[in-house]
Amino acid sequence: MNFRLRVWRQKSSDEKGRLVDYDAPDISPNTSFLEMLDIVNERLIERGEEPIAFDSDCREGICGTCSLTINGEAHGPSHPGAACQLYMRRFTDGETITVEPFRARPFHFIKDLVVNRGALDRIVQAGGFISARAGSAPEANSIPVPKHDADRAMEAAACIGCGACAAACPNGSAMLFTSAKVSHLAFLPQGHPERVTRALRMVSAMDAEGFGNCTNTYECEAVCPAEISASFIAKLNREFARASFAKKLGD
Protein backbone atom coordinates (compact mmCIF):
# COMPACT_ATOMS: atom_id res chain seq x y z
CA MET A 1 0.00 0.00 0.00
CA ASN A 2 1.06 3.61 -0.50
CA PHE A 3 0.44 6.48 1.87
CA ARG A 4 1.14 10.13 2.14
CA LEU A 5 2.00 11.22 5.68
CA ARG A 6 1.71 14.67 7.15
CA VAL A 7 3.83 14.50 10.29
CA TRP A 8 4.31 17.10 13.00
CA ARG A 9 8.00 18.06 13.06
CA GLN A 10 9.34 20.33 15.78
CA LYS A 11 12.89 20.19 17.14
CA SER A 12 12.06 21.52 20.59
CA SER A 13 9.50 23.54 22.46
CA ASP A 14 11.51 26.69 21.69
CA GLU A 15 11.05 26.28 17.98
CA LYS A 16 7.98 26.52 15.83
CA GLY A 17 6.66 23.24 14.54
CA ARG A 18 4.88 22.38 11.30
CA LEU A 19 3.34 19.50 9.42
CA VAL A 20 5.82 18.01 6.94
CA ASP A 21 4.77 15.74 4.07
CA TYR A 22 6.42 12.34 3.56
CA ASP A 23 5.67 9.60 1.07
CA ALA A 24 5.36 6.09 2.47
CA PRO A 25 5.29 3.73 -0.53
CA ASP A 26 5.30 -0.10 -0.50
CA ILE A 27 3.86 -0.70 2.94
CA SER A 28 2.39 -4.12 3.69
CA PRO A 29 -1.23 -3.95 4.93
CA ASN A 30 -0.19 -6.03 7.94
CA THR A 31 2.41 -3.52 9.09
CA SER A 32 1.49 -1.86 12.35
CA PHE A 33 1.33 1.91 12.41
CA LEU A 34 4.50 2.15 14.48
CA GLU A 35 6.36 -0.31 12.19
CA MET A 36 5.31 1.86 9.28
CA LEU A 37 6.90 4.84 11.03
CA ASP A 38 10.04 2.71 11.63
CA ILE A 39 10.20 1.98 7.89
CA VAL A 40 9.78 5.67 7.05
CA ASN A 41 12.51 6.51 9.57
CA GLU A 42 14.94 3.96 8.09
CA ARG A 43 14.43 5.54 4.69
CA LEU A 44 14.96 8.98 6.18
CA ILE A 45 18.19 7.87 7.83
CA GLU A 46 19.42 6.37 4.53
CA ARG A 47 18.85 9.76 2.96
CA GLY A 48 20.75 11.39 5.81
CA GLU A 49 17.67 13.11 7.24
CA GLU A 50 16.60 13.40 10.85
CA PRO A 51 14.22 10.53 11.76
CA ILE A 52 10.80 11.26 13.25
CA ALA A 53 10.86 11.00 17.03
CA PHE A 54 7.95 9.08 18.58
CA ASP A 55 7.33 7.16 21.80
CA SER A 56 6.71 3.44 22.12
CA ASP A 57 7.64 0.55 24.34
CA CYS A 58 5.60 -2.65 24.59
CA ARG A 59 3.92 -2.38 21.20
CA GLU A 60 1.14 -4.62 22.42
CA GLY A 61 -1.24 -2.16 24.04
CA ILE A 62 -0.31 -2.60 27.68
CA CYS A 63 2.28 0.00 28.61
CA GLY A 64 0.60 3.23 27.57
CA THR A 65 3.74 4.73 26.02
CA CYS A 66 2.66 5.23 22.43
CA SER A 67 0.91 8.54 22.05
CA LEU A 68 -0.06 9.55 18.55
CA THR A 69 -3.00 11.57 17.35
CA ILE A 70 -3.74 10.10 13.94
CA ASN A 71 -6.14 11.88 11.59
CA GLY A 72 -7.30 14.00 14.51
CA GLU A 73 -8.14 11.08 16.80
CA ALA A 74 -6.07 10.02 19.79
CA HIS A 75 -4.61 6.55 19.02
CA GLY A 76 -6.09 6.77 15.52
CA PRO A 77 -9.34 5.64 13.95
CA SER A 78 -9.54 2.15 15.44
CA HIS A 79 -11.15 2.23 18.89
CA PRO A 80 -10.60 0.72 21.35
CA GLY A 81 -6.90 0.22 20.84
CA ALA A 82 -3.58 1.96 21.35
CA ALA A 83 -1.70 3.40 18.37
CA CYS A 84 0.65 0.39 18.52
CA GLN A 85 -2.32 -1.92 17.91
CA LEU A 86 -3.34 -0.11 14.76
CA TYR A 87 -2.59 -1.77 11.42
CA MET A 88 -2.18 -0.14 8.05
CA ARG A 89 -4.96 -2.29 6.57
CA ARG A 90 -7.30 -0.03 8.54
CA PHE A 91 -6.51 2.76 6.04
CA THR A 92 -7.28 3.00 2.37
CA ASP A 93 -4.57 2.81 -0.27
CA GLY A 94 -3.28 6.24 -1.23
CA GLU A 95 -4.74 7.88 1.88
CA THR A 96 -3.18 10.99 3.39
CA ILE A 97 -2.61 10.42 7.11
CA THR A 98 -1.96 13.25 9.55
CA VAL A 99 0.13 12.42 12.62
CA GLU A 100 0.42 14.75 15.60
CA PRO A 101 1.50 14.25 19.20
CA PHE A 102 -0.93 13.98 22.14
CA ARG A 103 -1.71 17.58 22.95
CA ALA A 104 -2.96 19.07 26.22
CA ARG A 105 -1.42 21.98 28.09
CA PRO A 106 0.03 19.84 30.93
CA PHE A 107 1.76 17.55 28.40
CA HIS A 108 4.99 19.45 27.86
CA PHE A 109 6.37 19.20 24.39
CA ILE A 110 9.69 17.40 23.89
CA LYS A 111 10.26 16.66 20.20
CA ASP A 112 8.24 15.83 17.04
CA LEU A 113 5.63 13.37 18.30
CA VAL A 114 6.99 13.04 21.84
CA VAL A 115 5.49 14.81 24.82
CA ASN A 116 6.17 14.54 28.55
CA ARG A 117 3.21 13.02 30.35
CA GLY A 118 4.78 13.33 33.80
CA ALA A 119 1.73 15.31 34.89
CA LEU A 120 -0.18 12.00 35.04
CA ASP A 121 2.51 10.46 37.25
CA ARG A 122 2.29 13.38 39.63
CA ILE A 123 -1.47 12.88 39.95
CA VAL A 124 -0.81 9.27 40.96
CA GLN A 125 1.94 10.34 43.37
CA ALA A 126 -0.60 12.60 45.08
CA GLY A 127 -2.68 9.66 46.26
CA GLY A 128 -2.95 6.77 43.82
CA PHE A 129 -1.48 4.26 46.25
CA ILE A 130 -2.23 2.50 49.51
CA SER A 131 0.01 2.74 52.55
CA ALA A 132 0.33 -0.86 53.61
CA ARG A 133 3.13 -2.83 55.14
CA ALA A 134 4.96 -4.65 52.41
CA GLY A 135 5.99 -8.21 52.94
CA SER A 136 4.73 -11.66 52.13
CA ALA A 137 1.32 -11.76 50.46
CA PRO A 138 -1.57 -12.18 52.93
CA GLU A 139 -3.94 -15.14 52.69
CA ALA A 140 -6.16 -14.34 49.70
CA ASN A 141 -9.47 -15.05 51.44
CA SER A 142 -8.77 -13.03 54.57
CA ILE A 143 -10.42 -9.88 53.12
CA PRO A 144 -13.61 -10.74 51.26
CA VAL A 145 -14.49 -8.46 48.31
CA PRO A 146 -17.96 -8.60 46.74
CA LYS A 147 -17.92 -9.76 43.13
CA HIS A 148 -19.39 -6.49 41.81
CA ASP A 149 -16.76 -4.39 43.56
CA ALA A 150 -13.95 -6.65 42.44
CA ASP A 151 -15.16 -6.46 38.84
CA ARG A 152 -15.43 -2.68 38.87
CA ALA A 153 -12.03 -2.33 40.50
CA MET A 154 -10.47 -4.56 37.83
CA GLU A 155 -12.21 -2.58 35.10
CA ALA A 156 -10.79 0.67 36.46
CA ALA A 157 -7.36 -0.90 36.98
CA ALA A 158 -7.18 -1.61 33.24
CA CYS A 159 -6.16 2.01 32.62
CA ILE A 160 -2.70 1.99 31.03
CA GLY A 161 -2.06 5.65 31.77
CA CYS A 162 -1.55 6.66 28.16
CA GLY A 163 -3.22 10.07 28.46
CA ALA A 164 -5.33 9.68 25.33
CA CYS A 165 -8.33 10.81 27.35
CA ALA A 166 -6.77 14.21 28.08
CA ALA A 167 -5.38 14.47 24.55
CA ALA A 168 -8.80 13.86 23.00
CA CYS A 169 -10.74 15.98 25.46
CA PRO A 170 -11.90 19.34 24.05
CA ASN A 171 -11.21 20.72 27.54
CA GLY A 172 -7.84 19.03 28.06
CA SER A 173 -9.28 17.27 31.09
CA ALA A 174 -7.70 14.20 32.68
CA MET A 175 -10.84 13.21 34.55
CA LEU A 176 -11.08 9.75 32.97
CA PHE A 177 -7.53 8.87 33.98
CA THR A 178 -7.93 10.26 37.49
CA SER A 179 -11.35 8.68 37.94
CA ALA A 180 -9.96 5.28 36.96
CA LYS A 181 -7.13 5.59 39.48
CA VAL A 182 -9.39 6.85 42.29
CA SER A 183 -12.18 4.31 41.58
CA HIS A 184 -9.82 1.37 41.36
CA LEU A 185 -8.81 1.86 45.00
CA ALA A 186 -12.17 3.15 46.23
CA PHE A 187 -13.83 -0.14 45.28
CA LEU A 188 -11.42 -2.23 47.34
CA PRO A 189 -11.25 -2.49 51.13
CA GLN A 190 -7.47 -1.95 50.99
CA GLY A 191 -8.14 1.51 49.55
CA HIS A 192 -10.55 2.62 52.24
CA PRO A 193 -8.26 4.04 54.96
CA GLU A 194 -7.06 6.78 52.59
CA ARG A 195 -10.27 7.19 50.64
CA VAL A 196 -10.97 10.80 51.66
CA THR A 197 -7.46 12.22 51.30
CA ARG A 198 -6.90 10.32 48.06
CA ALA A 199 -9.92 11.81 46.29
CA LEU A 200 -9.14 15.34 47.47
CA ARG A 201 -5.39 15.21 46.78
CA MET A 202 -5.61 13.60 43.37
CA VAL A 203 -8.23 16.08 42.19
CA SER A 204 -6.24 19.05 43.41
CA ALA A 205 -3.06 17.63 41.83
CA MET A 206 -4.96 17.33 38.57
CA ASP A 207 -6.09 20.96 38.76
CA ALA A 208 -2.60 22.11 39.76
CA GLU A 209 -1.13 20.51 36.63
CA GLY A 210 -3.44 22.68 34.55
CA PHE A 211 -5.80 20.04 33.21
CA GLY A 212 -9.23 21.36 32.23
CA ASN A 213 -12.66 20.54 33.63
CA CYS A 214 -14.95 17.80 32.45
CA THR A 215 -18.08 18.94 30.60
CA ASN A 216 -19.28 15.41 29.89
CA THR A 217 -18.58 15.25 26.16
CA TYR A 218 -17.33 11.63 26.55
CA GLU A 219 -14.59 11.99 23.94
CA CYS A 220 -12.28 10.30 26.47
CA GLU A 221 -14.38 7.17 26.72
CA ALA A 222 -14.54 6.95 22.93
CA VAL A 223 -10.75 6.91 22.46
CA CYS A 224 -9.66 5.04 25.60
CA PRO A 225 -7.72 1.91 24.57
CA ALA A 226 -8.62 0.23 27.89
CA GLU A 227 -12.34 0.91 27.49
CA ILE A 228 -12.53 2.81 30.78
CA SER A 229 -16.15 3.91 31.12
CA ALA A 230 -17.04 7.55 31.75
CA SER A 231 -19.28 6.27 34.53
CA PHE A 232 -16.06 6.21 36.59
CA ILE A 233 -16.06 10.01 36.25
CA ALA A 234 -19.46 10.05 37.93
CA LYS A 235 -17.93 7.79 40.57
CA LEU A 236 -15.08 10.29 41.01
CA ASN A 237 -17.60 13.13 41.33
CA ARG A 238 -19.33 11.12 44.06
CA GLU A 239 -16.04 10.30 45.77
CA PHE A 240 -15.00 13.95 45.65
CA ALA A 241 -18.34 15.20 47.01
CA ARG A 242 -18.24 12.56 49.74
CA ALA A 243 -14.65 13.44 50.66
CA SER A 244 -15.32 17.20 50.72
CA PHE A 245 -18.30 16.56 52.97
CA ALA A 246 -16.38 14.21 55.26
CA LYS A 247 -13.61 16.77 55.55
CA LYS A 248 -16.08 19.53 56.48
CA LEU A 249 -17.53 17.32 59.19
CA GLY A 250 -14.06 16.65 60.56
CA ASP A 251 -13.23 13.30 62.10
Binding site: W8, L19, T69, N71, G72, E73, H79, T98, E100, F102, R103, A104, R105, P106, F107, A167, A168, C169, P170, N171, G172, S173, G210, F211, G212, N213, C214, T215, N216, T217, Y218, E219, E221, A222, V223, S229, A230, S231, I233, A234, K235, L236, N237, R238, A241
Partner: protein
Protein backbone atom coordinates in the same frame (compact mmCIF):
# COMPACT_ATOMS: atom_id res chain seq x y z
CA UNK B 1 -21.37 21.34 40.97
CA UNK B 2 -22.60 24.92 40.93
CA UNK B 3 -23.13 24.85 37.19
CA UNK B 4 -25.09 21.63 37.53
CA UNK B 5 -27.24 22.76 40.45
CA UNK B 6 -28.04 26.15 38.92
CA UNK B 7 -28.63 24.41 35.58
CA UNK B 8 -31.18 22.10 37.20
CA UNK B 9 -32.96 25.08 38.78
CA UNK B 10 -33.14 26.75 35.37
CA UNK B 11 -34.40 23.59 33.68
CA UNK B 12 -37.17 23.30 36.26
CA UNK B 13 -38.03 26.95 35.69
CA UNK B 14 -38.09 26.45 31.93
CA UNK B 15 -40.50 23.52 32.30
CA UNK B 16 -42.73 25.42 34.75
CA UNK B 17 -42.71 28.50 32.54
CA UNK B 18 -43.66 26.37 29.54
CA UNK B 19 -46.63 24.85 31.37
CA UNK B 20 -47.73 28.35 32.34
CA UNK B 21 -47.46 29.61 28.78
CA UNK B 22 -49.24 26.65 27.22
CA UNK B 23 -52.37 27.84 29.00
CA UNK B 24 -52.73 30.25 26.09
CA UNK B 25 -54.32 27.33 24.25
CA UNK B 26 -56.96 27.10 26.96
CA UNK B 27 -58.15 30.61 26.23
CA UNK B 28 -57.79 34.11 27.70
CA UNK B 29 -59.57 33.18 30.92
CA UNK B 30 -56.90 30.65 31.95
CA UNK B 31 -53.76 32.54 31.14
CA UNK B 32 -54.97 35.92 32.34
CA UNK B 33 -55.97 34.51 35.70
CA UNK B 34 -52.67 32.60 35.90
CA UNK B 35 -50.79 35.84 35.25
CA UNK B 36 -52.92 37.60 37.84
CA UNK B 37 -52.14 34.87 40.40
CA UNK B 38 -48.45 35.33 39.71
CA UNK B 39 -48.77 39.07 40.22
CA UNK B 40 -50.80 38.52 43.39
CA UNK B 41 -47.83 36.69 44.85
CA UNK B 42 -46.31 40.14 45.30
CA UNK B 43 -43.17 39.89 47.39
CA UNK B 44 -42.94 36.16 46.80
CA UNK B 45 -42.82 36.71 43.04
CA UNK B 46 -39.87 39.01 43.60
CA UNK B 47 -38.23 36.36 45.75
CA UNK B 48 -38.58 33.85 42.90
CA UNK B 49 -37.22 36.38 40.40
CA UNK B 50 -34.27 37.12 42.65
CA UNK B 51 -33.63 33.42 43.12
CA UNK B 52 -33.65 32.84 39.35
CA UNK B 53 -31.45 35.85 38.78
CA UNK B 54 -28.88 34.54 41.24
CA UNK B 55 -29.07 31.11 39.60
CA UNK B 56 -28.51 32.63 36.14
CA UNK B 57 -25.65 34.84 37.34
CA UNK B 58 -23.88 31.99 39.12
CA UNK B 59 -24.43 29.72 36.12
CA UNK B 60 -22.93 32.25 33.74
CA UNK B 61 -20.10 33.27 36.03
CA UNK B 62 -18.91 29.71 36.58
CA UNK B 63 -19.43 28.56 33.00
CA UNK B 64 -17.51 31.47 31.53
CA UNK B 65 -14.68 30.81 33.92
CA UNK B 66 -14.94 27.11 33.06
CA UNK B 67 -14.87 27.81 29.34
CA UNK B 68 -11.78 30.02 29.68
CA UNK B 69 -9.93 27.48 31.81
CA UNK B 70 -10.82 24.67 29.45
CA UNK B 71 -9.81 26.58 26.36
CA UNK B 72 -6.45 27.18 27.95
CA UNK B 73 -6.01 23.52 28.90
CA UNK B 74 -6.76 21.92 25.59
CA UNK B 75 -4.10 21.14 23.03
CA UNK B 76 -4.07 23.09 19.79
CA UNK B 77 -4.26 20.48 17.07
CA UNK B 78 -3.97 21.23 13.40
CA UNK B 79 -6.46 18.53 12.75
CA UNK B 80 -9.03 17.21 15.17
CA UNK B 81 -11.89 14.83 14.69
CA UNK B 82 -14.55 14.51 17.39
CA UNK B 83 -15.31 10.84 17.92
CA UNK B 84 -18.27 10.92 20.23
CA UNK B 85 -18.87 14.44 21.55
CA UNK B 86 -22.20 15.76 20.28
CA UNK B 87 -22.52 19.07 18.47
CA UNK B 88 -24.55 20.35 21.43
CA UNK B 89 -21.87 19.47 23.97
CA UNK B 90 -19.20 21.26 21.93
CA UNK B 91 -21.19 24.47 21.60
CA UNK B 92 -22.55 25.01 25.11
CA UNK B 93 -21.02 28.46 25.52
CA UNK B 94 -22.26 29.64 22.11
CA UNK B 95 -25.82 28.41 22.70
CA UNK B 96 -25.76 29.71 26.30
CA UNK B 97 -24.69 33.22 25.32
CA UNK B 98 -27.33 33.55 22.61
CA UNK B 99 -29.92 32.34 25.13
CA UNK B 100 -28.67 35.10 27.43
CA UNK B 101 -29.25 37.70 24.72
CA UNK B 102 -32.68 36.19 24.22
CA UNK B 103 -33.49 36.44 27.95
CA UNK B 104 -32.72 40.18 27.87
CA UNK B 105 -34.93 40.69 24.82
CA UNK B 106 -37.69 38.50 26.21
CA UNK B 107 -37.85 40.46 29.47
CA UNK B 108 -37.89 43.77 27.59
CA UNK B 109 -40.61 42.41 25.32
CA UNK B 110 -43.13 40.78 27.67
CA UNK B 111 -42.16 41.77 31.21
CA UNK B 112 -41.09 45.42 30.93
CA UNK B 113 -42.97 45.74 27.60
CA UNK B 114 -40.82 48.44 26.07
CA UNK B 115 -40.26 47.00 22.59
CA UNK B 116 -43.80 46.95 21.23
CA UNK B 117 -45.79 50.25 21.35
CA UNK B 118 -49.05 48.40 20.70
CA UNK B 119 -48.94 46.79 24.14
CA UNK B 120 -49.69 50.20 25.68
CA UNK B 121 -53.00 50.26 23.76
CA UNK B 122 -54.21 47.02 25.32
CA UNK B 123 -57.25 47.41 27.56
CA UNK B 124 -57.89 45.33 30.66
CA UNK B 125 -59.90 42.17 30.11
CA UNK B 126 -63.57 41.89 31.23
CA UNK B 127 -62.51 40.96 34.76
CA UNK B 128 -60.24 44.02 34.87
CA UNK B 129 -57.01 41.99 34.64
CA UNK B 130 -54.11 42.70 32.34
CA UNK B 131 -54.85 40.95 29.05
CA UNK B 132 -51.74 38.79 28.83
CA UNK B 133 -53.46 36.60 26.26
CA UNK B 134 -53.89 39.34 23.68
CA UNK B 135 -50.45 40.70 24.44
CA UNK B 136 -48.86 37.36 23.56
CA UNK B 137 -50.93 37.06 20.40
CA UNK B 138 -50.08 40.58 19.20
CA UNK B 139 -46.44 40.05 20.19
CA UNK B 140 -46.12 36.90 18.10
CA UNK B 141 -48.01 38.30 15.09
CA UNK B 142 -44.73 39.96 14.20
CA UNK B 143 -42.90 37.39 12.08
CA UNK B 144 -39.43 38.65 12.95
CA UNK B 145 -40.15 38.54 16.67
CA UNK B 146 -41.56 35.04 16.36
CA UNK B 147 -38.59 33.92 14.28
CA UNK B 148 -36.20 35.12 16.95
CA UNK B 149 -38.18 33.28 19.62
CA UNK B 150 -38.09 30.08 17.60
CA UNK B 151 -34.36 30.44 17.00
CA UNK B 152 -33.73 31.05 20.70
CA UNK B 153 -35.84 28.04 21.63
CA UNK B 154 -33.88 25.95 19.15
CA UNK B 155 -30.65 26.96 20.86
CA UNK B 156 -32.20 26.40 24.27
CA UNK B 157 -33.14 22.87 23.20
CA UNK B 158 -29.62 22.36 21.89
CA UNK B 159 -28.18 23.59 25.20
CA UNK B 160 -30.51 21.35 27.15
CA UNK B 161 -30.09 18.33 24.91
CA UNK B 162 -26.65 18.18 26.50
CA UNK B 163 -27.32 19.93 29.80
CA UNK B 164 -30.52 18.19 30.84
CA UNK B 165 -28.73 14.87 31.20
CA UNK B 166 -25.20 16.06 31.73
CA UNK B 167 -25.93 17.27 35.24
CA UNK B 168 -26.62 13.70 36.42
CA UNK B 169 -23.02 12.87 35.56
CA UNK B 170 -21.64 16.03 37.19
CA UNK B 171 -23.51 15.23 40.39
CA UNK B 172 -22.55 11.56 40.23
CA UNK B 173 -26.19 10.49 40.08
CA UNK B 174 -25.89 7.70 37.52
CA UNK B 175 -24.10 4.52 36.60
CA UNK B 176 -22.95 2.71 33.49
CA UNK B 177 -26.42 1.46 32.54
CA UNK B 178 -28.29 4.61 33.45
CA UNK B 179 -26.06 7.12 31.61
CA UNK B 180 -27.12 6.34 28.03
CA UNK B 181 -30.76 6.19 29.09
CA UNK B 182 -30.55 9.53 30.86
CA UNK B 183 -28.87 10.99 27.80
CA UNK B 184 -31.76 9.84 25.65
CA UNK B 185 -34.37 11.14 28.09
CA UNK B 186 -32.53 14.47 28.34
CA UNK B 187 -32.59 14.89 24.58
CA UNK B 188 -36.27 14.00 24.38
CA UNK B 189 -37.12 16.45 27.18
CA UNK B 190 -35.10 19.19 25.47
CA UNK B 191 -36.89 18.75 22.15
CA UNK B 192 -40.29 18.49 23.83
CA UNK B 193 -39.51 21.84 25.43
CA UNK B 194 -38.66 23.17 21.96
CA UNK B 195 -41.92 21.88 20.48
CA UNK B 196 -43.91 23.20 23.43
CA UNK B 197 -42.54 26.72 23.31
CA UNK B 198 -42.46 26.96 19.53
CA UNK B 199 -46.08 25.85 19.26
CA UNK B 200 -47.21 29.22 20.65
CA UNK B 201 -45.72 31.64 18.06
CA UNK B 202 -46.44 29.12 15.30
CA UNK B 203 -50.10 28.84 16.31
CA UNK B 204 -50.38 32.63 16.43
CA UNK B 205 -48.82 33.07 13.00
CA UNK B 206 -51.11 30.43 11.52
CA UNK B 207 -54.05 32.36 12.91
CA UNK B 208 -55.12 29.50 15.18
CA UNK B 209 -54.99 31.74 18.22
CA UNK B 210 -56.65 35.16 17.80
CA UNK B 211 -56.47 38.19 20.09
CA UNK B 212 -59.31 38.57 22.58
CA UNK B 213 -59.67 42.29 21.82
CA UNK B 214 -59.10 44.67 18.92
CA UNK B 215 -56.66 47.53 19.25
Amino acid sequence: MIVAVTGVILVLFVIGHLLGNLQIFLGPEWINSYAQHLRDLGGFLWAIRLFLLIAVLLHIYYTIWLAIENRRARGSYREREPVKASFASRHMAMSGLIILAFIFYHLAHFTVRVTDPRFALLKADPLNRYDVYSMMVYGFQNVIVSAFYVLAMFLLALHLSHGASSFFQSLGLNDKKLTPRLARIGRVVAWLIFIGYTSIPVAVLLGLVKPAQQL
